[in-house]
Symmetry: C2
Subunit: 333 residues, 2 copies
């Protein structure tokens, strides 16, 4: 069923049907309603592929994230989605599960669909992918990777600052046996959060020890990492988790082993997802403004439109905010 059939049935040209469909306000009222009738009678649904092909421009924004299971990414996605819908854009999501092959596939898909802009909220970025994207001419937003300039907007969070707050706080509470729990993607040698942790510890409490464990970015992963930590050495007095999701997993394992939080072990998260407030004990964490990340992404990508203040190509840095709740306390003696 096509535009042509609708045209035939209502005795007009395809051009007119197209006008009606697109709300071009020059069609005589009577013709218009005749067309409308035909459309509903035929249960006609315009072929969006044909439309994009003929139209040229795209009203679709692509969003690629590393792990939809982690509410952090979902929150960013939803912020973008909300802006998109408000401005008449579609959104296409893709989940890479931290696999760079998936990333490549997703990017190809987005380019193939000729998205108007692409937000890559992922951490598994590789050099040649970045390059491919840079040369693709389409507006891109990178989160935490790549370099700003040209069609590339970079959004990042000052993780270092967040880590500093955590370490200072923990140090003030007397903690000297620390542990860091990350997911595999964060264990890359040059990862900012982990690196920042070591740097800060060296500065703030040089005599403190830091052990490290890693697993998958999930509740189960957090639990496993703690298990690994606790079976391979003495229990730390504070566990710094790379994010809230894993922290909640950590809490579970600690609880099962009869270790009280924060009396026996302090735990910190990162992100300040909703869950961090609802778990027990509520997590001390660092707030990352997902909504601002999402909104800024959209603004940068959708500006070929009308406004064009020109966020594209710039770099945005957001400051995190330390949030103290119940999962941290004085170090046990």
């Amino acid at each position: 069923m096509s535009l042509e059939e609708v045209a035939k049935r209502s005795g007009v040209s395809t051009a007119t049907v197209s006008r009606v469909l697109n709300g071009v306000d020059v069609v005589k009222h009577s013709t218009r309603s005749r067309v409308m009738t035909a459309i509903t009678e035929l249960k006609y649904h315009p072929n969006l592929h044909a439309r994009s092909l003929a139209g040229g421009r795209s009203r679709t924004i692509g969003v690629i994230v590393s792990n939809l299971d982690n509410p952090f990414f979902l929150d960013v996605y939803r912020a973008v989605e909300s802006d998109c819908h408000a401005q008449g854009y579609e959104v296409l999501v893709a989940n890479t599960a931290y696999k760079s092959e998936q990333l490549v596939a997703s990017i190809r898909l987005m380019i193939g669909r000729r998205v108007a802009g692409l937000a890559a909220i992922v951490s598994e970025m590789e050099h040649d992918i970045v390059e491919e994207l840079t040369e693709s001419r389409i507006p891109i937003v990178f989160y935490d990777v790549g370099t700003a300039g040209g069609n590339i907007t970079k959004i990042r969070v000052n993780y270092r600052k967040g880590v500093e707050r955590i370490v200072e706080y923990l140090a003030a509470l007397g903690h000297e046996q620390l542990a860091f729990i990350g997911h595999h993607a964060v264990l890359a040698p040059l990862d900012e959060r982990r690196q920042a942790l070591f740097d800060t510890v060296k500065l703030v409490c040089p005599h403190a020890s830091v052990r490290v464990a890693a697993d998958s970015d999930s509740l189960e992963g957090g639990r496993q990492a703690v298990r690994e930590l606790l079976t391979s050495g003495p229990a730390p007095t504070a566990i710094i988790c790379v994010n809230d999701l894993m922290a909640v997993g950590a809490l579970k394992e600690l609880r099962e082993r009869g270790l009280r939080v924060p009396e026996d072990v302090s735990v910190t998260g990162f992100d300040n997802i909703k869950l961090s407030e609802f778990c027990y004990p509520a997590l001390t964490t660092v707030h990352i403004p997902r909504d601002r990340i999402g909104h800024t992404s959209f603004t940068s990508l959708a500006q070929g439109d009308a406004d064009s203040a020109g966020a594209l190509g710039k770099e945005f840095v957001f400051d995190p905010e330390f949030v103290v709740r119940d999962s941290t306390g004085a170090a046990r003696k």
Copy 2:
């Protein structure tokens, strides 16, 4: 940049380039590699819209869910996605946020994109939407709504059975002041879960009371609902939540009010999402097989392909499984 430019650059026809792109194995090796070179040099990415338009058939499955924030839906989605990717299909997700206008928009979008099949894992279905879908000829899977037959596959879970287990268990523990917490969409007069609860209570413990509260399907919603319950009357001894997400929210509010779970109040969930195991106390709940729901959806939708055992048009009913953990105990005196 188009197929034609690639053809020109490599000195062949567009037909040949197309063959190379689609792996039609009749192209001479030398030509093939010449084309490949041109493709990479030009950084050519095929226009997927043109491809779908020309090709006709679609390798895309659409999935519409009510609330991506609730891991239940995410789990179903991921099961579908995993099957899709394994079979070379794309997936398109849409989130309705329980709004039927959003549902309509999403459905139109999916039809417009000419998806090969559509899974509607939503509860806000309305009659005329169902009808529109039925007449659309495209393979559809409905979860918990609509009627099987024709191009419509129906998947449902025997919620009643799950509710029965919960009520029986709670009754055996001596609970007589019950409360039900649902989200707005579940408060429709004909909702199965709520209705099943009342029926079962009448049968199993006719002298028990049941109060009801509702809020949004979220952690915050669960908390709010409990707040409503507790400020508007005597505290129940057991709270039956429509799902785990809201149950976790309920736990939080109870904890804040100094009510111990399960000593003072028992709480049950539904779904058995991963979080139900990681929250404190771990939830007594009812397992709903999201993976089977997802796999069955895919199988039903993707069968126009080659196999065609013919799951399409049938009805599948899955049995839930009662899972006892730590959030339930004997009723307080």
